[in-house]
Symmetry: C2
Subunit: 277 residues, 2 copies
């Protein structure tokens, strides 16, 4: 029996091997119109999707595929949600922060994802998780958080000195901007690297304490794999109204979210972010 998480990891590695010499080159950056998700497709995006699909076929694994470029390809064994290159702009510019994100789901919802793999395509680090089995980086268990945050009496000074918050503010609307302003002015250490799935993996292994994207633009294809990885690493993940994050998995589905190491951290941020539950 072939185990699905192993197929996802193999597909990630296949993308890594097939794109590493193409990324950042003029050939790799050639544009081919817009994919199903609405972004410009580049040759690297298309080659990467092909590498994933070839891997699935090699294993006679035939899920319904939901892909950023290819849209939906009907199958029969559950759902494979794919962003074969997340962070295409970084890849095309040579900024070494982009990944391949693959998730397998038994139903059409985010919470039904049961296997996930994300590979850091600039160095080959692979993050993966299966439901209720924990999250891993290159075989080692990972978990969110820092010892200090467990302490209920974390001071404002500690917050400012020690907390790192990832935040995507690219092209935010005025409303969202106003909603984020208090947290931004309070946070000495914000970060934004430019590839949602890999940023969430950084968060999942404890390099950041929260990751927030309230633009309403993150697609289910960008989120599905990282969603399971951060959950299995011990994180909480909420929508921008404070409910637990949930979404259908269609290629046109977008969302806002905040991932936090625990509920104490959530409470520390929710007021700033004007979340009323």
């Amino acid at each position: 029996m072939v185990i699905i998480i192993d197929i996802l990891k193999e597909a990630c590695d296949e993308v890594y091997q097939n794109t590493r010499n193409l990324i950042g080159t003029a050939e790799g950056n050639k544009k081919f119109g817009r994919g199903a998700g609405g972004d410009i497709s580049r040759r690297i995006d298309l080659d990467a999707e092909k590498a994933v699909i070839n891997t699935l076929q090699r294993h006679n694994f035939n899920p319904t595929i939901i892909g950023e470029e290819c849209g939906m390809i009907q199958g029969k064994d559950g759902f494979l949600i794919m962003d074969a290159i997340d962070g295409t702009m970084n890849a095309s510019r040579g900024i070494p922060f982009y990944c391949c994100s693959l998730a397998y789901s038994i139903d059409f919802r985010l919470s039904s994802v049961v296997d996930a793999a994300v590979i850091d395509l600039s160095i080959g680090d692979i993050y993966y998780a299966s439901k209720e089995k924990g999250a891993f980086l290159n075989g080692d268990r990972i978990c969110v958080g820092r010892s200090k945050i467990g302490n209920n009496s974390i001071s404002e000074q500690d917050f400012q000195q020690d907390i790192v918050i990832g935040m995507n503010i690219s092209g935010v609307s005025e409303d969202t901007f106003n909603r984020l302003s208090k947290l931004i002015s309070r946070s000495i250490h914000t970060r934004h690297f430019g590839a949602n799935a890999l940023e969430l993996c950084y968060f999942a292994r404890g390099l950041m304490d929260a990751y927030i994207d309230f633009r309403g633009k993150i697609r289910a294809t960008d989120m599905a794999a990282a969603y399971l990885i951060v959950k299995e690493a011990g994180a909480k993940i909420y929508s921008d109204n404070g409910s637990e994050l949930e979404s259908e998995l269609g290629v046109d589905r977008t969302m806002s979210f905040m991932a936090v190491i625990d509920d104490q951290m959530y409470k520390m941020l929710a007021d700033d972010l004007k979340i009323i539950r």
Copy 2:
């Protein structure tokens, strides 16, 4: 005769060799009060400064040293401006984006910097420049910019699709926030990696098209080396009032700035940023 740029490069390499096994460890992160620049000093900061100073002494090179941790150490052969670890928070968390920044200046002003070296301490890439001799990465000439930006008729769509803008918004005041809001909402691709000197080196080699920090918090020690590298890579660098950037080099000197690939890019951003010249 020993050439100063070679001493700076050697010192950078010395910091790389002396910190690579310490960075991200509990021992490396131990705190030792505040340095001259006002930030918490960690063991890696202190070890890195020591590695630089040892290298200078080995060459009987005795400039006045201006360092983020050590403050000013009086010497006689010009000024050595040092941020031995820029991006300490990243280093302490394991985020692979931090560097050592060293500049040599013949006078006490930013514009008097004549030699500069910045080493990416997570992978060992070394960026350097000497005045009027160009900027280099590992021996290869680097320059800012992208072919497309030379075109006067760049459209708003091109701007949104293709332009990457680095921006430090950590802890910005409300005023600064309002000043940046228009550009942020217009920019689909903003980035913030968390180490000023290395972000400017990314910009200098063409990975980003502008880099902006209007918080008024960047120190001369964080800026001196990158200032020369981006200038030698062909960039323009302005203060937040549109004058060419200039500053004294004291450890207590801070500034706001925007680095852009050329004057056309400057004009494209200046209105959004409410710069009136």
